[in-house]
């Protein structure tokens, strides 16, 4: 399974954010997208997730499910947590698991993986920023998708939760998954390659 970007260009509001970007990522590999503020790290992730159009170039995922688009095989963890405050923790998770992945996914392991099991029936409104982030991460576990697109995944997480996230990412890679993460600092993956976006 391989994701390749070929001469990618991103234009937003008439401004070229980045151009001529090449990369390739194979199963089991992680890639850190680095660059200055405004260099287009988030734009690149959103482009791969199919949320903004590709101005020029090609994106290709080979070796995945034949009839699924790239966006349907990717998880996107953005700056917002996509949680509804009036729904409980488990209701939020069940909805995204049903919507994004296989119906009837088991949610308990996903909740346990982010250590939210005791709060399963609490409305999401009561959660702290870090707990909301963890619930958002549980979505990646509950619905299986090979490509994880993580935009600043460690924001709002304490050290312990960052370690837990690193463990989850490692086991995702070990299972043949791929990770692309936009980040300003280390997120606990040792063999990750770097992809620099925008000017040095």
């Amino acid at each position: 399974m391989q994701l390749t970007g070929d001469n990618l260009t991103c234009q937003r509001g008439g401004r070229t954010v980045f151009s001529g970007l090449y990369f390739s990522l194979s199963g089991g590999e992680a890639m850190m997208v680095v660059g200055r503020n405004g260099a287009g790290k988030s734009s690149l992730l959103r482009m791969i997730a199919g949320l903004i159009c590709i101005s020029a170039g090609r994106l290709d995922l080979s070796g995945g499910e034949a009839d699924a688009t790239l966006a349907e095989q990717a998880h996107y963890l953005g700056h917002q947590d996509a949680l509804k405050p009036s729904l409980s923790v488990i209701e939020n998770l069940r909805f995204w698991a049903d919507f994004l992945g296989a119906a009837g996914a088991t949610l308990e392991p996903a909740l346990a993986a982010v250590d939210l099991t005791p709060l399963a029936y609490m409305p999401a409104a009561y959660l702290s920023a870090g707990q909301k982030r963890r619930l958002s991460i549980a979505r990646l576990i509950a619905a299986k998708r090979p490509l994880w697109l993580l935009d600043e995944p460690t924001s709002a997480l304490d050290v312990q939760s960052q370690d837990r996230l690193a463990g989850l990412m490692r086991s995702h890679l070990a299972g043949g998954g791929m990770i692309m993460a936009a980040t300003h600092g280390p997120i606990g993956l040792e063999n990750a390659r770097e992809l620099r976006v925008g000017p040095e």
Binding site: A49, H79, A82, S86, D98, L100, G101, A103
Partner: protein, 222 residues
């Protein structure tokens, strides 16, 4: 549970929980209808004559204004991004949201119509006909309004823009809805033709609305 039903149930659940807007449309409808006699005067004969028209106008405004937050909340908390990444076509996801909205917001409008008709001195049997036309016509309003909701959310503007975009598109629904109601109540034209056209409008918008709204969302989001 399939993605479609899970989205439908989730939106309905949010609407009826604390902070949701399930009955707000019905409340707005009640207030609009109450305001009318203050402008027109409490003449019961006159109110009975124009009652069906008042009810239709009130239902039109209530069902459109309630659409304002349909996509805006999902945009604000990032859910909209994920809704576009589902394995289900975006058109279906949008349709699920619209159906949930119709069930929680427009169905209550139809249910309280007889009570409001009572206040406007519309006769008992006439109220049944008005409710029936609203039941057949409000899906068209919701699905046409869906397009406006999608357009206004991509521009990150809500409220009046939605009404400005959508109200002209609802003219046929209003014409045939009131025509069908009046035909049933006072005649002399038969009830069948305008009511059939009203149903046809609902069915057509059921197809057109989600397709156009999904297109607006896809092309509008950057």
């Amino acid at each position: 549970m399939s993605a479609f039903t899970s989205l439908l149930l989730r939106d309905m659940r949010i609407a009826v929980r604390v902070g949701g807007g399930a009955l707000m449309g019905a409340l707005f409808f009640l207030i609009v209808v109450t305001m009318m006699p203050f402008a027109i005067g409490p003449d019961l004969g006159l109110l009975a004559r124009i009652g069906p028209a008042i009810l239709w106008l009130g239902a039109l405004l209530a069902s459109l204004l309630a659409l304002d937050r349909l996509f805006a909340n999902d945009l604000d908390d990032g859910s909209l991004d994920l809704l576009m990444m589902g394995s289900m076509p975006l058109e279906l996801a949008v349709a699920a949201k619209a159906i949930a909205h119709w069930l929680t917001t427009c169905l209550p409008l139809v249910v309280i119509t007889p009570v409001l008709g009572l206040m406007l001195n519309v006769e008992m049997h006439a109220m049944g006909w008005v409710s029936l036309t609203l039941l057949a016509g409000t899906p068209a309003l919701t699905f046409i309004g869906l397009i406006g909701a999608a357009l206004s959310v991509t521009l990150r503007r809500g409220g009046l823009l939605l009404a400005v975009l959508v109200l002209p598109l609802t003219v046929p629904v209003l014409i045939f809805g009131v025509a069908a109601a009046n035909a049933a109540i006072v005649g002399p034209a038969p009830f069948g033709p305008p009511f059939t056209i009203l149903c046809a409008l609902s069915l057509a918008s059921f197809v057109l609305g989600p397709v156009a709204a999904a297109a607006a969302l896809r092309h509008g989001l950057e």
